[in-house]
């Protein structure tokens, strides 16, 4: 969903984080020894397994909880998670795919104009906060859809939310506010 303006804004989803459970105990050592593309982190108590086809990195804990990061869409995340479960099944564990949930979606969007951050922050207090000493972007948090938008002065924004719908609506919400505080390009 793009904003209803003359130009369509490209919202590019860069990262989708999802979790699921296998409902069985996993032996991390077995996975580490018999799997390809695995990194065993004994100090953290987890195994990192990287898949190629949906490009995904999964953190696998021995309790059976798995976090998948790196997918580019929600469906991709699900496919990747399923594939991972299948791999674990083939390794000999009695895996059941349960409680799949997309936890976080990160999207990037670029405005065709620059933004005056100080103006933007002044107009949208206290929802927006800008602390140049800490971070170069202004942070705008929309509570009811639980989305956080980081606005950079170049006009690019990053949006994080619990799912893709929220992210899209967040961008729609914030666009008019950004439009007000824009800075036209000189050259």
């Amino acid at each position: 969903m793009d904003s209803s303006n003359d130009e369509a804004l490209d919202i590019i989803i860069t990262n989708v984080v999802a979790t699921f459970r296998t409902r069985c105990h996993l032996n991390l050592r077995t996975i580490a020894l018999e799997g390809i593309n695995v990194i065993y982190k004994p100090d953290m108590g987890k195994v990192l397994m990287k898949l190629r086809k949906p490009k995904i990195t999964a953190s696998i804990w021995s309790s059976g909880k798995i976090i998948c990061t790196g997918a580019t869409s929600e469906d991709d995340a699900k496919v990747g998670a399923r594939r991972l479960a299948r791999t674990l099944q083939k390794l000999g564990f009695k895996v059941r795919f349960s409680a799949f949930k997309v936890v976080n979606v990160l999207a990037v969007c670029s405005m065709p104009f620059a933004i005056r951050l100080i103006d933007f922050t002044k107009k949208n207090r206290p929802i927006a906060s800008y602390e140049p000493e800490l971070h170069p972007a202004a942070t705008y948090r929309i509570k009811h859809i639980k989305a956080t938008i980081q606005v950079f002065s170049t006009g690019s924004i990053t949006v994080t939310g619990p799912n893709v719908q929220n992210v899209a609506s967040a961008v729609e919400q914030v666009y008019p506010l950004l439009f007000e505080c824009q800075k036209p390009r000189c050259k």
Binding site: G35, K53, R82, R116, P126, L134, P136, S153
Partner: protein, 679 residues
């Protein structure tokens, strides 16, 4: 003031005396209020003509200090704790604030913020110093003082981002809108620190103008204000003919050298930098610039265009290079090791593909080799050749940067090899694993979803051979960790057998200074202290302990005669004599202690030859006492002790020193064992 009704008579006529601060009913004369807080200052003449102001001090904490005990018991307990928190907070704020040189008004405001924070229960789960620092920073921002969060984090030695998190949270919860940081605020402060003498004000003004110009040129959004200030001050100083190096400025401004240089280059790119000093002071250019990141993006686009041009040019040059390529190929054919077995098949397969790839991309391509090492070697060789070519090109095109060219060649060069690798050889990238061609066999199995390719999943799982190899590798890699685990398990087993196994050993023991040493005698106490504290690294504690145990044969009471004679002599002998005296005294205190001293004196005797004769007379008494001590015991001890004689002597001296000091004190105070003073 208080026009109330009198309690006793009900009359409404109340006389309020401002000067005395009292309210009196005119009807019945009862005093309704006393000590009203007035804003008048009255002076009273005291004895001797000294005039003093009339009034009482009222505590800032108010009535909190006198809670109602008894009737409001529960609430008072809660209030006490809250009062303590507030008191503690106030103290901390005063401390930190004075270090930051904040005035009292700021500190009071900070305390008010703190009270609000406490009432909203935001201190829970947060370190007190973080909360206080955040309150102070909040005040700094609202008042506009030139204090940075960096200063606070410097004082507290806490990560600035942690403080920032707390600060942001508090600002959000208290709904306090802190105004944005203006770099202009920091200029006077930094200028002061940079020591410009009389001209500080002028330099500050120039720097201010520069900063304002930077703002207009969009250099300040998203950047740390201190970095901008640093750059502005550096330029301003140079303009006024002060020599301030980049290092001076960064030590004051607390940014990195790279940052400062970057700001300067960015400023250089703006048209304002082209003005002369006079022009700059007089004229303000109308034109505004784009933010530097914009220009960087444009720069990138330009680079890409140039790269494309370069590719075209390379095509032209390709002919020249292809002959080089042929030569390389022939050379490598000769030097390439013969591949055996399965690899031979692979290498043959690769070559025709190679030819196709080459023709398609028309790229100067190194010949495809099965071995990764040779590949790398050829890549390197061609790289060198290409570098030379590029340099020639540079001369022709007058291109300044060879970087992007190389970059452009880099990815283009790698395209073909990757293709080949991914096409033929399968996904394994491990070095030593056997690439078995059996991976194509797929299990039929139960397919959950149509889109899951079981074949591919099979590739993810290694077969038995591979598992073995990987197990070996993994074991080698993680040897240390595995060893640790084994040791840990053994340790736990042992302790379980011994019955001293403790479940959680993760918490580190804190060396509490206030640990009470329980000992029956002074001697025991000192011994325990020595064991615990390990004061000197040169003392061989094992030997010391053995000595202690060795002297268990019991020694008779030392004659007190030795007391009087010896204190006069000064030298090592003195020590031994003193030791003897003190040893004598020790008999009054405790057996063990004495034994310690006596055995050490004997040790000393053995190691220092010269004193032997001298001390013979003196120590005869001790020897008599020590004859009962088993002679064989010290001999084995002396053997190791003799080995490093000098070190041991020092050790003993040190031990002796302490014992001596203890005993001295003991000697001074008679029978009392002053344990603490030993330490």
């Amino acid at each position: 003031m208080s026009s109330r009704v009198c309690r006793t008579c009900g009359g409404a006529d109340i006389d309020v005396d401002q000067a005395r601060g009292s309210a009196v009913c005119t009807g019945c004369g009862s005093v309704l209020e006393d000590n009203i807080i007035v804003s008048e200052v009255q002076f009273v003449e005291g004895s001797g003509g000294v005039s003093s102001a009339v009034g009482q001090f009222v505590s800032a904490e108010g009535p909190v200090k006198a809670p109602l005990l008894g009737s409001g018991f529960h609430t008072s307990v809660g209030k006490e704790s809250r009062a303590q928190t507030l008191q503690g907070g106030k103290r901390h704020i005063q401390q930190l604030g004075s270090q930051l040189q904040l005035n009292q008004h700021c500190l009071d405001t900070a305390f008010n913020f703190f009270k609000m924070v406490v009432s909203k229960h935001l201190t829970r789960g947060r370190k007190m110093e973080h909360v206080i620092a955040a309150c102070l920073y909040l005040v700094c921002r609202t008042e506009g003082t030139p204090h940075m969060l960096l200063d606070l984090s410097d004082l507290l030695q806490v990560n600035i981002y942690i403080l920032g998190k707390t600060f942001l949270l508090l600002a959000r919860e208290l709904c306090i809108n802190a105004p944005a940081i203006d770099p202009c605020l920091y200029i006077p402060r930094f200028a002061h620190m940079l020591d410009f003498g009389g001209k500080t004000h002028e330099v500050s003004m120039t720097a201010l103008r520069l900063v304002q110009r930077m703002k207009r040129d969009w250099m300040h959004t998203g950047r740390r204000p201190s970095g901008l200030c640093g750059a502005a001050l550096l330029v301003a100083a140079r303009m006024h003919k002060f020599r301030r190096t980049v290092k001076d400025v960064i030590s004051v401004v607390k940014v990195c050298q790279t940052t400062l240089r970057k700001r300067l280059t960015e400023f250089e790119d703006t048209p304002t930098s082209q003005l002369t000093i006079d022009e700059f002071m007089r004229v303000d250019l109308e034109q505004e610039c784009d933010p530097p990141s914009f220009t960087a993006a444009q720069h990138k686009v330009k680079m890409q265009q140039l790269e494309q041009e370069l590719v075209r040019k390379l095509d032209e040059v390709e002919g020249e290079i292809s002959c080089y390529k042929d030569e390389i190929e022939t050379e490598l054919e000769k030097s390439r090791p013969k591949l055996r077995g399965i690899y031979a098949a692979y290498s043959k397969e690769i070559d025709p593909e190679d030819a196709e790839v080459l023709s398609s991309t028309s790229e100067p391509e190194e010949p495809e080799v099965g071995d990764a090492e040779l590949q790398a070697a050829t890549q390197h060789l061609t790289q060198n050749f290409l570098c030379q070519v590029i340099q020639e090109e540079e001369g022709r095109d007058k291109k300044t940067e060879a970087g992007p060219e190389k970059e452009s060649l880099g990815p283009l060069r790698q395209v073909a090899p990757l293709d080949v690798i991914l096409g033929k050889l399968t996904t394994t990238t491990c070095l030593d694993l056997n690439k078995s061609p059996d991976e194509e066999q797929s299990e039929s199995g139960v397919l959950e979803l149509d889109d899951i390719d079981d074949q591919e999943i099979e590739k993810y799982i290694l077969n038995e051979q591979e598992v073995q190899v990987k197990t070996e590798l993994w074991m080698k890699q993680n040897e240390e960790y595995l060893k640790e685990q084994e040791e840990k398990e053994e340790r736990i087993k042992k302790e379980k057998e011994q019955g001293t196994y403790k479940e959680k050993k993760k918490k580190k023991k804190r060396m509490t200074k206030g640990e009470q040493v329980e000992a029956l005698t002074a001697g025991e106490a000192i011994e325990k202290m020595l064991e615990k504290k390990k004061i000197s690294s040169k003392i061989n504690y094992d030997v010391l302990r053995d000595l202690n145990r060795g002297g268990e044969g019991g020694s008779g009471p030392d004659p007190p005669n030795t007391l009087t004679h010896k204190p006069l002599t000064r030298r090592r002998r003195n020590k031994t004599s003193e030791a003897n005296d003190l040893a004598a005294n020790a008999s009054i205190i405790g057996k063990r202690f004495r034994r310690l001293i006596s055995t050490t004196t004997r040790k000393k005797r053995k190691t220092s030859s010269s004193q032997v004769e001298n001390s013979v007379t003196m120590t005869t008494q001790t020897t008599t006492t020590d004859t009962t001590a088993p002679p064989p015991e010290p001999e084995p001890i002396s053997a190791p002790t003799l080995a490093p004689p000098t070190v041991e002597e020092e050790e003993e001296e040190e031990v002796e020193d302490e014992c001596v000091s203890a005993l001295q004190l003991v000697g001074d105070y008679g029978c009392e064992a002053e344990e603490e003073e030993v330490f």
